[in-house]
Symmetry: C2
Subunit: 381 residues, 2 copies
Amino acid sequence: MLQMVCTGCDHTEPVDVRVYDCPWCGAPFRFVDGMPNADTSFPNSIDPHEQGVWRYRRLLPVEEQTDPVTLGEGGTPVVRLDRWGAEHGLPELRAKLEHLGPTGSFKDRGTTLLLTALRAAGVERVIEDSSGNAGAAVAAYAARAGIATRVFVPASAPASKLAQIAAYGAEIVPVEGTREEVTEAALAALDADTVYASHNLSPYFPESLKTFAYELYEFSADDLPDHIVFPVGNGSLLLGAARGFADLAELSAPARSPRLHAAQAENCAPIVYAHNHRVMEDAPEWSATLAGGVAVAQPPRMAEILEALHDSGGTATTVSEAEIREAAMSLARMEGLYVEPTTAVAFAAAARLRREGAIGEGQKVLVPVTGSGLKDPLING
Amino acid sequence: MLQMVCTGCDHTEPVDVRVYDCPWCGAPFRFVDGMPNADTSFPNSIDPHEQGVWRYRRLLPVEEQTDPVTLGEGGTPVVRLDRWGAEHGLPELRAKLEHLGPTGSFKDRGTTLLLTALRAAGVERVIEDSSGNAGAAVAAYAARAGIATRVFVPASAPASKLAQIAAYGAEIVPVEGTREEVTEAALAALDADTVYASHNLSPYFPESLKTFAYELYEFSADDLPDHIVFPVGNGSLLLGAARGFADLAELSAPARSPRLHAAQAENCAPIVYAHNHRVMEDAPEWSATLAGGVAVAQPPRMAEILEALHDSGGTATTVSEAEIREAAMSLARMEGLYVEPTTAVAFAAAARLRREGAIGEGQKVLVPVTGSGLKDPLING
């Protein structure tokens, strides 16, 4: 039976879209068995008449008859990056273009399941806190589902980032103070009729990102990457991929999962610090970074992320602001790939992992393009 | 044998990427037989191991061994728009999301073939004139192909639109004067080493857009739309679709092509004027429109467009600036679909065609989303 288990204390709860954290320890939940309708094998669980995320609906935690809230997300292309790769010692470098989602980021792949579950549960009002890609994704899918949305954002958020969220008809609530105070304001506004549609805390969001791994396996099982390097803020795509590869092993067994690596900015690298020091004590004060998507000082799913790195044999590494800027610029100029700075973190980290030997000569490396440069341009880039 | 034929005077020329207009009459060329490597049937001509445009490479005018310049374009999803459709008397309305291309517009689908042909011909420098989606697409694919690009733009073009083009490393050349003077400046800069990579004039660009029709047929042959409504500026997507359906009839015959309709803004509607009046004499002075992609006073392929409308049983219609704005806003708010104003022209026109009876009750209607709202936001939208 589909259940939620706390990632902190292993307390289990029946599935409820209204419950976003553990009543005992406050940690977020994950699903115990996220494939309630799976067939005995992966190929038999695929719906060949569907494209994208919903091609794998039998491997997702929803009733088989549930009508999805979809905008055609998933099914993203993989392209070779021969020129940029050659320059950085990575002749077998590929990118999976997650930014070609309906709202311009990988968040769409997670949001389709979250809003599907919310609509199926009869939810009519949601709250989210984000000034970036997640806010836009939740606002768009909620609009399509006919669900009213309030998005709490830092008062300092740039108007350009809010224009897209506003276009979907979401109510924007600016909050003075830190990012944590924005979340507190959102939580304080919850009432009996309103659900917290948190991409950070809901177990649906990372569960839907499993399909990232499914697609890699379905369309290139013979050519799986040796390494995948993710830009990590809250870590949902890395976690989703890890679960997807775990599911595949259960269903039909690819020989091994790729090594999953976490890339962060030197200016904000709590995962790298915890990975290297085994504890969070004495972590430095983090500062601002160009890469807004990795500027997360306290990722709620830290323990799961560290476990996924360890289990896959991956590592965690940082890059400088100069490396981020240089990678973003050179990817556009050499490959026609216009990425947001957050994505550039992972490309710069791949180059660094190769220099430092964690990626071997000639190994196959994949980097997800998590967001479009259109949404977060490097001014004077 | 693959040949180019003039759309004005039927003069034929051998294929040459450097020749962009007829030496006799100045009209653009099209290909005589754009499927030189096709098998006897459509299904047999598909490469099942490829996604997107290059899945149909045997139906495109390139040598079978040519290495494509690709960024994963094509293979776009089709989504239902039940809420917006119901509100506008179109219960069977769907959108094909062409804006989910690598640079954020349908132009990518045409540019991949154009740059593939240019690179295969050994071209090292190109010129283009555009301040919008085509400039970005050519700059991106040329960057990936290692081809140097100069993009001529109106001096009045907004900085935000130029940031993406500049990111790809293209040289931007601002020109004072009218749009026609920008083109003249680009042509004047041509020399023996530089090719005019014009999305308006090159026959490769619309030829690649045939794949729009191929995808509709391959993935929903049993459920083809009765009508497709295109926003038309230079008309390349409408022309590409028309050729694609013609190819399909030749290869394996769908029962009929959908009716293809052209949508333009009241403020700039030369196609509608010519369609209704049969001549261009006494056409009004056109004025500015929110919908930059349809602001083309003299489309070079006008004759072909009128023929495609006629042959498919389609029509041509205009919408007001207010209707464009209203459609763009309501699509985002009701469907989570954030489109550029140019795309909104076609949705507003579909609603109008239904009101006026050209689209019958309950008929299936498809509209391509040609560009993302991220690239051309409605300020205060």
